[in-house]
């Protein structure tokens, strides 16, 4: 009887193993569970918080409708943070896109020490961002800035002049964008290298035979061919720029006078430090519809331009 049962069970397992329909679902299950538990649940909780009056020290909450959203749009700091977020995201992504293209092109060529260069470029991505940002904080320090020291040493600045990298709104924004670009560049470069590697060599050869120059070759052949994968890089970059606050938290904490405050950092200061979890949730979710729309648009674009 036992032998018969185990034989039947074994046969069922073999059938399940060979059934692609069920096997696929089974193998996807851990990823779906992960997303549901660690991303979906907090997200829906944040949605619920944003229409409530919960505080960081409270366990009870009441439904308040859109009151938190109406309150934040009347707050000048929020409006400033919204503008800063858009500036931060768009400028950093344009820079990342240009620099990643240059780097990817360079790293496609063969040269001595290529692996060292690749390793160095990847370093900002693999190092903890908080540590990297602290390094940059010292480079931008008002007294001990190595950048100022270098500029003084080469005679560009006189010895009594110190540039306050994080003390002027425009310089502070430029500084946080620089660090953000430094951090995201490796990912975008690796993605673009993958895209460039997938372009068949005969297409490049044909372009060369037809006499296409570098710019024409690049803009009319290479870019259209890697556009789908480049769209993915841009999408990643935008999501990071809109949702991350580590660089700003470490370097400026939103200063000087909120000129580098972004929605993610404002949400943290309001929700966690300030204790108003509901308003913090509303601030952090404010751009969610826009981000979802942008993600759909990017993915749709990526599919349309895909070369088959």
């Amino acid at each position: 009887m036992t032998v018969l049962r185990s034989t039947v069970l074994g046969a069922r397992l073999i059938r399940l193993r060979d059934d692609e329909h069920w096997l696929g679902r089974l193998m996807l299950a851990p990823a779906i569970a992960y997303i549901a538990l660690l991303i979906g649940f907090p997200f829906f909780l944040a949605l619920y918080y944003s229409v409530s009056d919960i505080t960081v020290g409270g366990r009870t909450m009441s439904y308040v409708g859109l009151r938190n959203f109406l309150a934040i749009v009347q707050n000048p700091t929020f409006i400033m943070a919204l503008k800063n977020t858009l500036t931060f995201a768009f400028v950093s992504q344009i820079l990342v896109l240009i620099l990643a293209n240059v780097l990817a092109q360079a790293l496609m060529k063969d040269f001595r020490g290529k692996w060292v260069v690749r390793f160095l470029i990847l370093l900002p991505w693999v190092a903890p961002i908080s540590l990297g940002s602290i390094g940059w904080l010292w480079m931008f320090d008002s007294i001990y800035s190595v950048i100022n020291w270098t500029l003084q040493a080469v005679g560009i600045l006189d010895h009594n002049t110190r540039i306050m990298w994080l003390g002027k709104p425009a310089l502070a924004m430029a500084s946080v964008i620089t660090v953000h670009v430094w951090r995201l560049l490796p990912l975008a470069t690796v993605i673009l290298i993958a895209g460039l590697s997938s372009v068949p060599q005969d297409i490049h050869d044909a372009a060369a035979v037809d006499g296409a120059g570098f710019w024409r070759h690049h803009f009319q052949i290479t870019i259209p061919l890697v556009a789908p994968i480049m769209t993915v890089a841009v999408l990643f970059g935008f999501v990071f720029a809109f949702t991350d606050m580590i660089v700003i938290y470490v370097l400026t904490r939103g200063g000087p006078y909120n000129s580098t405050q972004v929605l993610a950092s404002l949400a943290f200061f309001t929700g966690i430090d300030g204790g108003d979890l509901a308003e913090g949730a509303a601030i952090s979710l404010f751009l969610f519809p826009l981000l979802v729309a942008a993600a759909f648009a990017f993915l749709h674009l990526a599919r349309r331009v895909e070369v088959t």
């Binding site: 309150a71 006078y257 200061f269």
Partner: protein, 448 residues
């Protein structure tokens, strides 16, 4: 008498006997000997910051908690984290309803009032044993609306003026009033190129220094009845003063500062004056930085209305309602206050007692310090309670004051005006609007 037979022990017998013995030792200790069960070692988990003075943590970990643990049959576990991580950690513990039995904030945390026990009993016991607590402690841990003590303060850190005596002597001035600081600071900057440094950034020391200026100008965020009163002529005058101070005596680096910038500023020899705890001089003494002997301390500066400053750090311990060892945590705090003299010495006078009688020789100790040059450098702090106040002055700290503090409303107001981005009046109007919005929100929630 029959002879006892030497019966060989079977494997079954051995297991039975060993099992019974183990049961008797393990379970029996709880059932058969109840006294033994109650004497089982307890655990007390404490979370606090990495103290600015490493010697304090050394004393706390290696001496104090060991001795206290042995006396109270308790295993004490202390976790230290950076100052910047305290709020996030507290939020995480509350969200999980699990964490430490004692949690140390470095500022009043009224927002967690619903999550903590009423600490009244601890104050009462400490006052019975060690005398009255200072007003500053009560104003930083008591909610007059709900009549609840939402924390317990064992100590506070003074926030005196740190100034370069050589430079101030050189221009023939002393930083006694805020106007002296503007005029003298301006002269030093002009003559030596060394500025004053009062932060205008989104950081805690800025928050303290700018409130000190406001209070000394007769301005405040709210009044004694927790009504927002930021918009006043006094605040406007304070903003205009800071704008002038920035223009005449400071540089733009104050917009870039973090909590440790004023330490670096003074110890690098590139600053003539800053407001800070005694961390500047203590670091200088411990690291033997030459400029330290020229950095002297002064009382809070006098403004047009009064001489007043803030505490620099307010130790506020809380016991969560969900703590597993509430009684142990209460006892720990009561005993800790009783031993505060050792803590005061271990912190190298950084932490001052909230129960002054626990350090009876306080004035003698601070008037003769072995590291300071001159040895009475810290004597100026002996009447600190006459000029130090709490963040919510002239009222109590509350949830709205906490949010105004944590979202940098006041530092942004001053910075916008000082940088010329807004007129003083516009900066004040904007901040006032935000303060009123925050107060209304917390009033609607019944917290003020």
């Amino acid at each position: 008498m029959g002879q006892k037979k030497n019966k060989p022990v079977s494997r079954r017998d051995f297991i039975k006997t060993a099992g019974t013995a183990a049961l008797a030792v393990g379970v029996g200790a709880h059932i058969i000997v109840p006294g033994r069960a109650s004497a089982q070692q307890k655990t007390l988990k404490i979370l606090q910051w990495n103290h600015f003075v490493p010697g304090y943590d050394k004393w706390f970990h290696n001496t104090y908690i060991k001795e206290w643990g042995e006396k109270n049959n308790t295993k004490v576990i202390v976790d230290n984290i950076g100052l910047a991580g305290l709020n996030s950690r507290a939020a995480a513990e509350v969200s999980a309803q699990k964490g430490h039995d004692l949690f140390l904030f470095l500022w009043p945390a009224p927002v967690y009032e619903d999550q903590v026990i009423d600490h009244r009993e601890i104050y009462e016991e400490c006052e019975r044993k060690y005398g009255k607590a200072i007003d500053l402690a009560i104003r930083s841990t008591y909610n007059p609306k709900t009549k609840k003590y939402y924390g317990f303060s064992d100590s506070y850190v003074p926030d005196p003026i740190n100034y370069r005596k050589d430079l101030w002597d050189d221009v023939g001035m002393f930083p006694d009033t805020w106007d002296d600081i503007r005029v003298g600071g301006g002269k030093i900057k002009k003559k030596h190129g060394i500025p004053v440094g009062i932060g205008l950034a989104s950081e805690i020391d800025t928050n303290m220094a700018l409130r000190a200026i406001m209070y000394s100008f007769g301005s405040s965020v709210h009044d004694a009845e927790s009504k927002p009163v930021l918009k006043s002529e006094n605040t406007l005058e304070a903003i205009k003063f800071v704008k002038a101070l920035h223009k005449e005596a400071m540089t733009d680096e104050v917009f870039t500062w973090d909590a440790s910038s004023n330490n670096r500023f003074m110890l690098s020899g590139k600053g003539s004056l800053a407001l800070n705890a005694i961390s500047i001089t203590r670091t200088g003494e411990n690291k033997k930085i030459p400029v330290t002997d020229n950095i002297w301390l002064a009382k809070a500066a006098k403004g047009p209305v009064r001489r007043i400053g803030l505490e620099h750090v307010m130790d506020v311990y809380v016991i969560w309602k969900f703590a597993e060892n509430i009684e142990g945590a209460k006892q720990f705090l009561i005993d800790y206050v009783g031993n505060f003299r050792s803590g005061f010495l271990a912190s190298e006078f950084y932490n001052f007692p909230c129960f002054p009688k626990t350090v009876p020789d306080f004035k003698t100790l601070i008037s003769k310090d072995s590291k300071a040059k001159p040895p009475d450098k810290y004597k100026v702090l002996e009447d600190v309670l006459d000029w130090a106040t709490n963040v919510g002055y002239p009222g109590y700290a509350n949830a709205a004051i906490d949010e105004v503090f944590s979202t940098w409303v006041i530092s942004t107001m001053f910075a916008q005006a000082a940088a010329g981005k807004m007129t003083p009046k516009d900066a004040l109007n904007q901040a006032d609007k935000e303060v009123r919005r925050i107060f209304k929100k917390w009033r609607d929630r019944g917290k003020i």
